[in-house]
């Protein structure tokens, strides 16, 4: 049986499979289907400073091999999150990667500060900074669409966290050059990258002849976008291997439904993978992906997970 341990900078996890933020709520619901402490890490729904109602409904549209969502970061706010959700996750022994966001760079930092100060912080193995959300100060432009905004958020959050505490910047693929954004985030102090968040999309209701989502646009996710996720991971990994940007670990996310899908992201350069939309199809998906990944490694004769991370770069055909 392959050794599934993965290293993400200063963080070591017993296995590389995680939930994806916003696709697993905060643990209780999936704990009915499998033990969430068995995952490499449990990634919580992005939390902001204050409670948020989220967007009007309809908030989702099914699309071919994917879906659009416009949840609008509904959540209880950092206070209630810490006291109820994080405390519960700690009680069941989960390793928690907490996803945070803010309407402004300063709000990100504030959320991080509250997190670090809470008694349940010792269950937290890392922070995922969801910069793929709108920057109120910059006409609602997504932070991760701009290297400067990305860097600002990352550096402010960095200051709030203990030295070398694992921190991942989560990037959007909706940019001309994702390597430039990755570079900015890493230089600003991100110890790793999570990619990808959803792609901006729209679906039209052809009976009503208007957008299906009340909010018009939504985020596209699911197996449909997996090739884009693999590409983003590949590009950043290639840039790191060629020393064009500093090397940091990547958490891959986007369209993972099976162990082989996870293996695709790992081979492209990810050191861990998150399972998002597939969980809606199969509430056991994150745990099943872990089992399937383990078998896939064994069948291929890999003794250790680290053997496959980025392997597709080495095996690339030279033309």
């Amino acid at each position: 049986m392959a050794d599934l341990t993965t290293r993400l900078g200063t963080l070591t996890l017993p296995n590389p499979v995680m939930t994806a933020s916003g696709c697993a709520a905060n643990g209780r619901e999936l704990h009915r289907f499998f033990d969430v402490s068995e995952l490499g890490a449990f990634v919580t729904k992005t939390v902001m400073a204050d409670p948020r109602s989220g967007r009007p409904t309809p908030r989702m549209a099914e699309t071919p091999s994917g879906m659009l969502n416009s949840i609008g970061l509904q959540g209880p706010g950092i206070g209630a999150f810490l006291d109820k959700d994080l405390t519960w996750l700690k009680s069941v022994g989960a390793r928690v990667l907490v996803s945070i966001a803010g309407n402004t760079a300063v709000e990100f930092a504030q959320v991080a500060r509250d997190l670090v100060a809470h008694p349940a912080f010792d269950a937290v193995v890392g922070v995922e900074v969801n910069i793929s959300c709108p920057n109120v100060a910059n006409r609602g432009l997504v932070f991760a669409c701009d290297p400067m905004s990305s860097a600002k958020v990352v550096s402010l959050v960095r200051e709030e966290l203990p030295r070398d505490f694992p921190m991942f910047a989560k990037l959007t693929p909706d940019v001309t050059d994702i390597v430039a954004i990755a570079d900015a985030a890493v230089r600003a102090g991100a110890g790793g990258l999570t990619m990808i968040n959803t792609l901006l999309g729209i679906a039209i209701d052809t009976d009503r002849m208007r957008p299906q989502l009340a909010a018009v646009t939504g985020g596209l996710s699911g197996p449909a976008v997996r090739p884009v996720a693999v590409r983003a991971i590949w590009q950043c990994t290639a840039a790191m291997r060629e020393n064009r940007i500093d090397a940091v670990p990547i958490i891959g996310v986007g369209g993972v439904r099976s162990g082989l899908d996870a293996l695709e992201l790992l081979a492209a350069g990810a050191s861990a993978v998150q399972v998002g939309t597939a969980t809606f199809n199969d509430p056991s998906a994150p745990r099943r992906v872990l089992t399937e990944l383990e078998s896939a490694l064994d069948e291929r004769g890999f003794a250790s997970l680290t053997d496959v991370v980025g392997l597709a770069h080495d095996r690339k055909v030279t033309l």
Binding site: F33, P56, T57, R59
Partner: protein, 290 residues
């Protein structure tokens, strides 16, 4: 929210009933925990499917064991790709089952009179509910409404399960011409009903709530919001509901519902296929919005 199971179900019977398909699925472990008002989330399209999201259906009935192990029954209206696929299943086909989900209809502790109102396939869970209520000594009246006769479900079953049955259709093709809300006041008054249970389209649930409240009865309605996961992890199925504390929150209808007290639902937020976030909702967007 604990006794849910995920199991590889097997269709053992599928038959047409009016405009609907009635499926019986072997799904061990569901019946034991299930209560009327709860639902099942089915995966659709098989292993090559492009339709990832689950489709939710009220549990019509369940039986803990039989020749094939525990079974559940659902009544399906074929509309989009997922329901069409389900309606095209044949005996021995496989379908992944997650159930039972959601909060069931609350059952009164006293043997009071109840009216059960179903719109279209919305009647599916009500016969089982009627049986449970009658076991408790409740007087049960049923009202079944639909656009037309073929869209009524379970009129015969209703006569067996209830003490009185009223049928309405929009076009008058069966029963009384009109809406369920036309006949409801008289029935509540006549039976001195304490609870009105409803399942059907949102507009109907709203009017059931209004009629019930106006006549001193409590409405318990099973809503049908668009759901992606059915298990509480996606936040797509939310609606504004007042809590016991009077505060409105956007709550998930798959875990906190699908059954809500009608007078707690902020019906005025629903217009023209959209549900807005009332301004007094916890975390509602301020100017600028989110």
């Amino acid at each position: 929210m604990s006794d849910v199971v995920q199991v590889a179900g097997e269709v053992i019977a599928i038959r047409r009933v009016g405009a609907y398909q009635h499926l019986t699925i072997v799904a061990p472990g569901v019946a034991e925990a299930a209560r009327p008002g709860q639902f099942v989330a089915l995966a659709v399209g098989g292993p090559t499917s492009a339709n990832l999201l689950r489709r939710c259906f009220s549990l019509h009935k369940v039986s803990p064991s039989g020749a094939y192990g525990g079974t559940l029954d659902v009544v399906i209206a074929a509309k989009g790709p997922g329901t069409q696929w389900l309606a095209g299943l044949r005996a021995h086909d496989k379908v992944d089952v997650v159930a039972p989900l959601g909060r069931p209809f609350p059952i009164p502790t006293e043997p009071v009179a109840c009216v059960l109102v179903g719109g279209g396939y919305g009647s599916a869970p009500l016969f089982w509910l009627a049986d449970v209520l009658r076991e408790r000594g409740c007087h049960v009246e049923m009202v079944l409404g639909a656009a037309s006769e073929d869209r009524l479900f379970g009129v015969v079953e209703a006569r067996r399960s209830a003490d009185g049955v009223t049928v309405t259709t929009d076009d008058g093709s069966a029963g009384r011409r009109g809406w369920v809300s036309d006949v409801l006041p008289e029935i509540i008054t006549r039976t001195s009903a304490a609870v009105v249970y409803g399942c059907g389209p949102m507009g109907m649930l709203r009017s059931i709530t209004e009629v019930a409240t106006a006549h001193g009865a409590v409405a318990q309605v099973a809503v049908e919001e668009s759901m992606a996961c059915g298990v509480g992890v996606c936040m797509t199925c939310v609606m504004p509901v007042r809590g016991k504390d009077g505060t409105t929150r956007m709550v998930r209808s798959c875990v906190e519902g699908p059954v809500f007290r009608g007078d707690r639902v902020r019906w005025e937020a629903f217009t023209d296929g959209v549900c807005r976030v009332p301004a007094d909702t916890v975390g509602a967007p301020r100017a600028g919005g989110h």
